[in-house]
Symmetry: C2
Subunit: 312 residues, 2 copies
């Protein structure tokens, strides 16, 4: 058998991708062409940090806050970006403008990269930046947004902060993915994981809020400090609604009047069942509704938005 | 500004890579061309499992065991491989044969992949298989192998088994990477992490063994069940050396006569300093030496090797 005859010069990718635009190494390319080396430690060691921001009706929401969190993660991982913050902002704008998407999910990523000699010493790697814009997506689909998510509490501990600092937004999701499968096995749609003390932490890509007697509470430790979570807390402050960050026990969650989850991918999303039991009345509650309305209202507020300039 | 004029059809990768061969989607390609989509959840959620096997002097070592562990991880992650075990074996042989490397580091990977609509439901993704062969690498370099590694015990908890099952070989390495930086900051070369009880777990890509009074002990829980670790235990059984799997306290480790770490990337590698203090005599010990000799001896044993057929 002549092995050599089988060697190709270039990889041809047979898989379909959503429509969008990516940036890599100074180049704007279709997102279907955006690839990272299988030797990049961003893949091989999930040694990467990222942030996602959305564009709604042609404008970024809280772009500064997302870039700031991203830069903080990069610094904590001891990486160096090949682009400065103003260049990042311009690149993200360009990706969206080139994509034409008026509603987009936009991601910026810094990976450890590679060293030419495949050294295992992360200090020898050249860190890389990439970004992409694809159509807006949501944790909850339209039907789930209308009637509320049906969730489970999975008996899985979210990777604790003593292992991986959740302030560094990271791709360590296997615990969350196993939580999703646990939910599917039980006939539920998504999952919340626990912290090491058995309290509620977060779910796959979202924070959670419980409402009881008109007050909100959300887990404080071992969770990503979500920008949507922060927005909810700020809206509450503006409206005089009490919102506390602290431990949230399973019992407290199960006895809530209302529950919702928050994510850049979907905003404020109601939860109306936990493990088959209705949350409160089993319908989307008034505080959730009110906060959701305010959240999307803030998307028209010049304090928080950056308008994309689309070509011609 | 005309954004569209800046769009490229194809990404041109300016980064250097080691020489090797990869397999992706039926194609054998130079490893420099082996790329995964930035939208593959193997990257975006580190939703992947893998295994690495080495080729030493033209023969795979314990290839069956590595493939078996890989298949187990794929099953636990609820993924489906597009190739069967015999095809995997042939692909790995072909990658090595095409690379020409007589000593190679060979990796097989299954990623969650993508769904065309960028769905967040992992059940909708098409799982992908890839493999590559690059030059053999070692956790310890030549000098470190000669005089022993100088390590630290980092005050970082290895991601616990209640979060991510360590039997699924995975890319969740940020805790290990932070351990490496902790070691570098202290002037050491690598690190061991702790488990949730403060006992020793493992390091970046390796298991650890402590030797005292002629007996070996190695952590049992929350660590990858390494194939080199298993080989050491089997060699001990064959030689009548006592080797126990169980809790290994920091105190027990620090008071060892000998310490070594084990990895497919480097085999059995001595440790002669912990946090600046000599281990035992401060020199590589006789049991470490004896096991290392036996380990490489087994690389000539037909029970464990698969000879690569290189092209004419």
């Amino acid at each position: 058998m002549n092995h050599i005859s089988k060697l190709s010069e270039i990889y041809t990718d047979p898989h379909p991708y959503p429509v969008g635009i990516a940036f890599q190494d100074g180049q704007y390319i279709p997102v279907s062409e955006a690839k990272i080396s299988v030797l990049d430690y961003g893949f091989l060691h999930s040694d990467a940090t990222y942030d996602t921001v959305h564009v709604w009706d042609g404008a970024f929401f809280r772009l500064d806050d997302h870039i700031e969190r991203f830069l903080s993660g990069v610094e904590r991982l001891r990486m160096e970006l090949p682009v400065n913050p103003e260049e990042i902002r311009q690149i993200l704008h360009n990706c969206v403008a080139l994509s034409g998407h008026r509603r987009a999910y936009v991601e910026m990523v810094c990976t450890r990269g590679t060293a030419a000699n495949f050294s295992r010493d992360p200090r020898e790697a050249t860190n890389r930046f990439l970004a992409f814009a694809v159509p807006y997506g949501s944790v909850a689909n339209d039907e789930q947004l209308r009637r509320g998510l049906h969730i489970t509490i999975a008996d899985i501990t979210r990777i604790p902060p003593g292992s991986v600092d959740p302030k560094i937004k990271n791709y360590h999701w296997l615990d969350l993915i196993m939580g999703l499968y646990d939910a599917y096995d039980k006939g539920r749609e998504t999952a919340l994981l626990l912290d090491a003390d058995g309290n509620i932490s977060e779910g796959p890509g979202f924070n959670v809020f419980a409402v009881r007697d008109g007050s909100l509470s959300t887990p404080a430790r071992g969770v990503l400090p979500g920008i949507t979570r922060r927005t909810v807390i700020e809206i509450c402050a503006a409206k005089g609604i009490n919102a506390q960050e602290g431990n949230l026990s399973q019992e407290r969650l199960r006895s809530s009047d209302e529950i919702f989850v928050t994510s850049t991918a979907g905003g404020i999303m109601p939860v109306t069942q936990i493990d088959g039991q209705p949350v409160g009345s089993g319908k989307i509650g008034p505080i959730t509704d009110c906060l959701k309305c305010a959240y999307w209202g803030w998307h028209k507020d010049s304090r928080f938005i950056d308008i994309v300039s689309y070509p011609g």
